[in-house]
Amino acid sequence: MGPVTAVAPADVEEFADAVTAMDAAAGRAVVGRLLADGADPVGLIDQVIVPSQREVGLRWQQGEWSVAQQHAATEVALAAADEVRRQLPPMARRRGHVLLACAEREWHALPVTLIGLAIRAAGWETTVLGAGVSPLRLGRYLHELGPDATAISCSVLAGLPTSRRFIEASSAAGVPTVVGGAAFGQDARRADALGATAWASSARGAIHALEGLPLVVPPVGNLPRELAAELAALREQHPSMLMTIGARWQPFGAQPPEPRYPDSPAEVARDCIDQTLHAVSAALLTDDPTVLTETRAWVTAVLAARGVGSAPERAGELVTLLGALMREYPRADALLSEQW
């Protein structure tokens, strides 16, 4: 391999254009050319592919793209990831074996794929289980492979409870965990609360975190009994709460679906309620109330981008309705009273 070359802003833009055009062949070609020119695969992942995906998420948030278009654009990044994988040189040394997975309810397979490639480029053998993995399946691979670490990617708050179960399963086998993804926030607080061994905010960060892991970790302690019971009750009541709030909270009012907003108002409202319900559980689980404020800001932004007048007030109504349902859940009730 020759000297590593930096990625230029024009390259980043060219790849972003391919994503916008949903042109997988073009995206693959950009990445292929950069790698052939000596770009570092890990830098390429962190500086080219990941930023393009943030843009994809923003386009949905701003009402420019439907969920289906989001999926289609993500295929460009997956094609690029495939090109990175194709061009990775054979592993010169084996530093250990890392098992990578996304928990149930986490369907963003791209981040875990990219992290897997970066880790492999750094000399680790990898087994990537992908998105929506059950704890049972993860457990089987833990027993069969006996990895040196488990890497868990979680972009959505709904995936945090099963991420915690992944951490429990790994640590029960003595295997340290590295976690990352948007749902884990901007620092190690949520990762620490869940009992993860390390937290990483990027592909390079994940490699660095792996290098510092202990060989063996003790099992993480159980969640406090009352907290676990309340989380289980919230989980069980999630579908009915979704329906109850959905019947009362209609931020779009009688506004007919507008062709310029690709997803229907009903779908968007449902997403907002679902996210907010998951945010309550996530805040309890991670003991991090910023989850709630972030989610409220997100709901406001989603509504405002779709032409809902007084979006902050509509988000406030959602919180009020949610608060009324949380009276039976003392921890959630207290959290909402304090934070919202």
């Binding site: 062949a25 693959r28 998105a131 833990l142 029960a172 003595g174 295997v175």
Partner: protein, 433 residues
């Protein structure tokens, strides 16, 4: 862990030491119960014993052949090495404990070259050298004895002034006994994994071929999700101009259907060697399955995809029987199940021909997806068709991912049958990403 302060009465110190021994034993038991993986179990054991009880440790475990010994331990226990069992002949102490199961406690004189010292207990030059550098006072060799057999050994070293007392030796023997039980279970698990992984490789769905002018995608979740195999199956084979696509389901509970599924998959391949016509393939396959697995009910869809010379158009001849549904998803968002003649017998085969243009998708699902049940009821065909319509024009891969997500989210953690969808997308020639 309780630690007596210097100057504490002897009784308290003894009590604290006894507690430490007891904690060590229970820690080993619970820690090793957490994994069925040999390497992870050994690493945990070494981590615990080296925390306080010993200054250095090494473990040897007979491999599945019984002819070699895997060695773990030393400064970096992740570096595994192995030796031939016959090499233990030079280690008199080790050989003795492997034969008798009896503990060997040696008071070490490091510079003494006789084989009764560390040379007799540590059968690996680098590990032996590392141990000698510690200038240990005592070396304790313990047999890993379980279910009447010695499956390995554990060697513990302690430095000067920290020799092993009689009670320490008793505690170490208990540790070795519990570790041996766990490691033997892990050995049995590994043996089963080795046995089943070869079968799983044959039973797992194949990788779909990359075919110019077509894109293929599948989503598959077995009912026994953690095993990745079940009774639903798919396949694609042939040439880019004349491709055979198969999607089927063996009725029966989970993993027990898997052997019949592989039989069905193979029967279709064999039948298609003689004729690619769906009626011939389904007929020959039914005959073969009737002979091989007569009590098994198989739903099957066989599609022969013939691409036009310039690409961008394909003629698909479909034959199907039983609970499997081919659905046409047009780029314009129009979604309709492929129409077949009505038949009195649902397991009789029926046939249809469809023409697809660039961007159109043929989606084939087995009964698990429309029949999936979640808190809100059955997933159903209507929801499937609506979802497919929303993803019209996005491509086979995107629809496969979206469908998997939608179904799994819908069932919300409930148990399910095998969930299988196979998608064929007609694309331009030369585009094979």
């Amino acid at each position: 862990m309780v630690r007596p302060a210097p100057g504490e009465p002897v009784e308290q110190r003894l009590l604290a030491t006894a507690r430490r021994r007891s904690t060590l034993i229970s820690e080993v038991s619970s820690a090793m119960a957490g994994s069925l993986n040999i390497r992870r179990s050994v690493l945990r054991l070494l981590d615990i014993v080296c925390a306080e009880f010993a200054d250095w440790a090494m473990l040897g475990l007979l491999d599945s052949s019984g002819l070699r010994v895997d060695l773990y331990g030393g400064a970096d226990p992740r570096n595994l090495t192995d030796i031939s069992l016959s090499e233990l002949n030079d280690q008199r102490s080790l050989q003795a404990l492997m034969q008798t199961g009896e503990t060997e406690l040696l008071h070490v004189v490091v510079d003494n070259p006789t084989p009764d010292g560390l040379d007799g207990l540590i059968p690996h030059a680098a590990l032996r050298e590392e141990a000698k550098q510690l200038r240990p006072a005592d070396a304790l060799g313990l047999a890993l004895l379980t279910r009447g057999a010695v499956i390995g050994f554990l060697v513990l070293l302690r430095g000067e002034g920290r020799g092993f007392t009689v009670r320490d030796v008793a505690a170490a023997e208990e540790v070795a006994r519990r570790a041996a039980m766990s490691l033997d279970s892990a050995r049995l698990y590994r043996a089963r994994v080795e046995l089943t992984s070869a079968l799983q490789t044959a039973l797992r769905p194949p990788a779909l071929p990359k075919t110019p002018g077509l894109r293929l995608a599948a989503t598959y979740r077995a009912a026994a999700e953690h095993l990745d195999i079940g009774g639903d199956f798919y396949d694609a084979f042939g040439t880019p101009e004349d491709l055979s696509v198969v999607c089927g389901s063996v009725r029966g509970p989970g993993i027990t259907s898997a052997p019949a599924a592989i039989q069905a998959r193979q029967s279709v391949r064999t039948a298609a060697r003689f004729s690619r016509r769906p009626d011939s393939v389904l007929g020959a396959t039914a005959d073969a399955l009737h002979l091989e697995v007569p009590d098994v009910e198989v739903s099957l869809c066989y599609a022969r995809v013939q691409l036009s010379p310039g690409g961008g158009h394909a003629t698909i001849d479909i034959g199907k029987n039983g609970d499997v549904r081919p659905i046409l998803v047009g780029t314009d968002g129009v979604v309709r199940p492929v129409e077949f003649p009505e038949l009195a017998d649902p397991y009789a085969s029926s046939y249809a021909r469809i023409e697809v243009e660039r961007g159109d998708l043929l989606l084939v699902v087995t009964g698990g997806i429309p029949g999936a049940v979640g808190p809100a009821g059955s997933y159903g065909l209507d929801r499937l068709l609506r979802l497919a319509g929303r993803y019209a024009g996005t491509g086979a891969l995107v629809l496969a991912e979206a469908l998997e997500q939608d179904v799994v989210d819908f069932i919300d953690g409930s148990g399910h049958e095998d969930l299988l969808a196979l998608i064929v997308e007609c694309g331009p020639l030369g585009d094979n990403e």
